[in-house]
Symmetry: D2
Subunit: 401 residues, 4 copies
């Protein structure tokens, strides 16, 4: 019970193993993916090698074949996985599967775990998480959820539109969030499991987004009288918003972990290039303008890692961390985007190209400041808590006086 910032030896060992795996097995296939797109065939190949290398699914329960690492240990390991944009998929710790694994592990019935969780942890299948809706539905404001769930005999019928559903193309099943409707059902929202071959689960078009590497894209999905049997209700009917929190707090931190790795990669590439590049008779890395970009990146990475480790530890210890994770998510997402932007700038013309990987990281990371709570939404929530604390201090002083 005192400060200790030591990475445990077994975590450090696993970190090196992941670093080696990413360097030797994942980085070499990046250019092919950037040119031709990511495929499930390549995913399965990479995951098979990851299993062989003993680095598969570090965050997943050991009982299911995962690494069984604590959440604060995962902060070290998932950063390493994120060092390649393909690393998290290779290690089966990418969004949205990683968050779905956590959620199913925490809330699924034994039958649901056998049917959905086990093949997901093993990489046999992929999944998606259908919560976000096109306006005026639920994006940053979950209470605006418009997809409905009506009670019918033996189950529920879902209707509504989803949007920006990452990984939907090729997913075997989806978790779907819907609002309970009708007299005989609990108020609130419910989460449902459904195979994607359910005839009421209709894949729409791919959204043409800034990023380019997400396996399975970002799709529209229509729920058209989509029947879900009672056995596939995840948790209790009406518990949907609470379950979303179970998923979201850790999920936004694992995003931070992975993107911190990607930002470090961008920085490393740019600094290496600045060491090799001559400009105006100096090494680029010796010019003060370049040094400023390099140093600001080093500082941002260090501060981001410090707040992320601390927050992950708090969560691993079992505390509620809404506020801490909001702060960490804003800081890490903004810092990581700054780092990548500076890396592009430092690398110059080459920095704008995907040959150097930088251009692709630049594209792929942008949405991180928006999803899982946009910066501005977290800031509103952080400010409200700070104002409540200030009001309490004032009240306490007035009481004493």
């Amino acid at each position: 019970m005192a400060f200790d910032f030591t990475i445990s030896p077994h975590v450090e060992e696993q970190r090196r193993r992941i670093a080696d795996f990413v360097a030797n097995e994942v980085v070499p296939v990046e250019q092919q993916v950037f040119r031709e797109g990511f495929t499930d065939e390549l995913r399965l190949e990479l995951q098979s090698r990851a299993k062989a290398a003993g680095v598969f699914a570090p965050q997943a329960p050991a009982s299911l074949g995962g690494g069984g690492f604590r959440f604060d240990e995962a902060a070290v390991l998932l950063e390493e996985a994120g060092y390649s944009l393909l690393g998290p998929v290779a290690l089966n710790c990418a969004a949205p599967d990683e968050g779905n694994i956590h959620l199913l592990h925490m809330t699924g019935t034994p039958e649901q775990q056998a049917r959905y969780l086990e093949p997901l942890v093993s990489g046999e299948v992929r999944s998606c998480f259908a919560m976000t809706e096109p306006p005026p539905g639920a994006g940053s404001d979950p209470s605006a959820l418009r997809t409905t769930a009506h009670r019918v005999d033996g189950g529920w019928v879902l209707n509504g539109e989803k949007w920006l559903i990452t990984g939907a193309q090729g997913a075997a099943f989806s978790i779907v969030m819907a609002r309970n409707e009708g007299d005989d059902v609990p108020e609130g929202a419910t989460m449902f499991l459904t195979p994607t071959d359910n005839p009421g689960f209709v894949l729409g078009e791919h959204l043409n987004t800034i990023d380019g590497t997400f396996l399975g894209g970002h799709l529209r999905i229509s729920l058209r009288d989509c029947f879900v049997p009672d056995a596939d209700v995840l948790g209790e009917p009406g518990s949907g918003f609470a379950a979303a929190q179970v998923r979201l707090a850790p999920a936004r931190l694992t995003h931070c972990m992975r993107w911190l790795g990607a930002a470090r990669r961008a920085h490393d590439i740019a600094v290496e290039r600045s060491v090799e590049r001559e400009l105006f008779g100096s090494r680029l890395s010796d010019l003060g303008m370049a040094q400023s970009l390099i140093a600001e990146n080093e500082i941002d990475l260090a501060a981001a890692r410090a707040i992320l480790w601390q927050t992950s530890w708090v969560l691993a210890e079992g505390s509620r961390t809404s506020e801490e994770s909001s702060r960490a998510k804003v800081f890490v997402s903004e810092a990581a985007c700054r780092v990548v932007d500076r890396a592009v700038q430092l690398a110059g013309g080459m920095g704008t190209s995907e040959e150097l990987v930088l251009g692709r990281i630049y594209r792929d990371i942008r949405s991180f400041r928006i999803y899982d709570g946009a910066t501005e939404v977290h800031k509103m929530s952080i400010a409200k808590r700070a104002a409540r604390r200030a009001a309490a201090r004032i009240a306490a002083r007035e009481k004493r006086a």
Copy 2:
């Protein structure tokens, strides 16, 4: 001879004409281009409509069929053209052709103008400008130019590698910058004109860059014993660096004009969306967090326009403007990128998508902070001039004392 910030009525009239043309003829084809790519067929169709609408080539000499507008008037008009990413091509005022038109007009012989300039102004052909080289050649530091030009009988032979040559695919000719080599030639660099079907002008692969809309891509080019006859030397041998300045100072300002339009477009889209979007029970545009993004954009756009108009006027008046154009380029490029980034953030999930155009603007604008002088290179040059002025002030004081 006193301040006047009035847009002349004939310029304002043309501005409206361009705005209408972009809205009615260009914007409707954007989604098709984002999905399928830009083609010369579409370019010719758009340019033909632009001619019919009387908005073609506002900056080109009237004697050649252009609009003949002054450079400070072009600041108003090219912003309007840039309101669509396709607008500058539709109006034949896009890079690199627009800069090549200017350069050929200023420095070409009558024969060169007949052969190269006239079909370029009319849109019959496209061109490219081959200066940038892969490391360790000339990027931000022009003095590192490694492509060589050797004198031979009746002309010159060029050898070297070029890189990131925008618009090269499909261009009819290129201007090529090379360093004079040999005893009998003037020191320095020379600009050469060459048709792209010259057997020594070899197109290499497309670089996979962050942006996605540039017609003709960004290519590697190899010059392999590329023969250029004397008649195709642009300006005097050895005058290449001076000629580059003739091209670059206005070219970096026309980039500012066009990208200011694109940034305004991004802002307009995002504000319109924020007006239509409900969040937490308010219009998004009424939430202070959103208002902050909106207002910062309005301020950045206004300040960018002010410094750009002023600098364009100085250049139109015929003064040297290296320092002013460096300041304007840094300010406008940084401000425009901030505006687009805030617009993406304001539009949320939708902002990351190309359906809303924002995602594409976000990708395409990034390199603007790097090409035609990276921010850091301009800052070095600006600081040196400021230090020279300070040293002169000190010397003057010491002389007086």
Copy 3:
């Protein structure tokens, strides 16, 4: 009727005259003022020399002995006056007198002008402007005004508390803003003129603020049954908020002009020092980290001047400029504070000291981002207008469709 960014020769001549006056007569007394405080004795001495040098009151009406320059010309001249923190007082173009001169000139009766305006323009007396109130009264939100004005026989009686009233100590008279109360009076607020020796006008304590050079400090004032005769009502009863706008729009721009000069001074000092200072074997000004600070200052100063000149011209032409002046105020105040902060940083240990003037400029300029509309208040108003325009565009499109 076309762009012209030329400073008229007679303005340029006056600008040089002011620059010489500030350098030769004002700068030499700065250290004394920093050590001992500003006094009216020194003010009168400086103003007498300014009259002799032909540089007094450039913005005041020529009919009253001022320079009679247009508002956009004043933008050039007041920047020069602001080059010393004492310059605006020496030239009688400092706040709050400069704004009061404008307001009295626009709205005062002949009698009021003879009694209050004439001695104010000549520098015989100083004045103050009592609008701001301590919470919960009127600060950023004028509608919260709590000082009351009741109609009595032959005049009005004022009661309330004012706060942060700049220049109150030693002022001969004050303009006071109060809310009309009672059945028989027009709704709204009214402006009143009152000598400060009115027994109901009670000076309170000096507020101990960040700045240190304002003549007359920043005081609390109590209005205690303060009687003002009808002849000293400024404008019509009930016209107070409208009159405040008459004062505020130009006043916030003249603040921008003066502080732009102070920011340029800070920058000049720091760059000169960086030219003279050796560090790590180089001139400080040759180190890239320093060049970055220098160049960012140059760019901020140029952009601030561009938007300020443009806005001042619009106002000089007689247009309403609430939105333009809000944008200019935010940009110039934020940019000027950035410039001064970078100058302090560039000058290092010396930069934190008042010997180099930088420390004092750093202290004095801070409040500029708060008074005459805090940055955030202007941003709210700018965003609302942008949202209204966006809503109008949407409505127009829907009407067409």
Copy 4:
């Protein structure tokens, strides 16, 4: 050996004790100090109460009457002390004494510790640290040291000029840094102890700096044939630069700790005010513009604390931390200044005043980005290390290939 971010119970208990002491004993005398200045009389009174409260000198060795807390524990405690600008002096953990205590404890002889360290730890006397010199001497670049030390019989004679020596007025002794000169002495610099009543130690004028609360001011000092006997050489002759590092790495972190407390205070004041203030019909704290300032402060404070705790722990564990402490110093100093600036802005007119303490914190904190290594100097050093690591990675890859 695994992450643990728990504050030990005995540290938490002491933190609360300090918080109570600062709130009840220190905060109540702030306004008096702001008005009348800080005196040694008040210091002794406060220190006596701090001893009585059991909160004195938390970082000093327990053997000498200090708290004996580890360095990472001090990070928690000194933040609490810094919650008032007077707190660190009251607890005898302020600069420069705190750093001198550490240095004397690490390098002093038993005699030196008896004579200089013991009365310093007890608060009987104050001290100063004379290293910085006016240009062209040693400021950011220690190698430029110009004060000389010549060997004479029985000791050394020092000559030179020092500048910005904090706390010199009223100090009982000084540590002086000088460059060895002469044939018979080791190369390099040496640290000397000297009572300030040494006739060769001549106090010069107070520098008029931005800050206003430092006890003993910031003075010029002339060393004029200042004799120091051998017994007062601190460490070995020639070991001065090494000894400076012993002092500087922890000293810059204790600055971070104290200023983090001051920044938190500024934030708390501003948020409390925003909760009490009505504006435009809302609580100020409910307006999005204000929420943005509040949340950014919360995030900056949390990230600063995270990186500071981590770095302090590394140092407490005995590792060299030049790079970590450079990163932490830049991040914390820049973040703390941002926090204070936002707090001033949030509090509006009141924020610019010292009544609210904010104005004084704003003034006092500015130099923190300059002393103990300016931001830019640390960034240069951070960038060089990053470039060296990148070069090593490249070399390792080339070796493998």
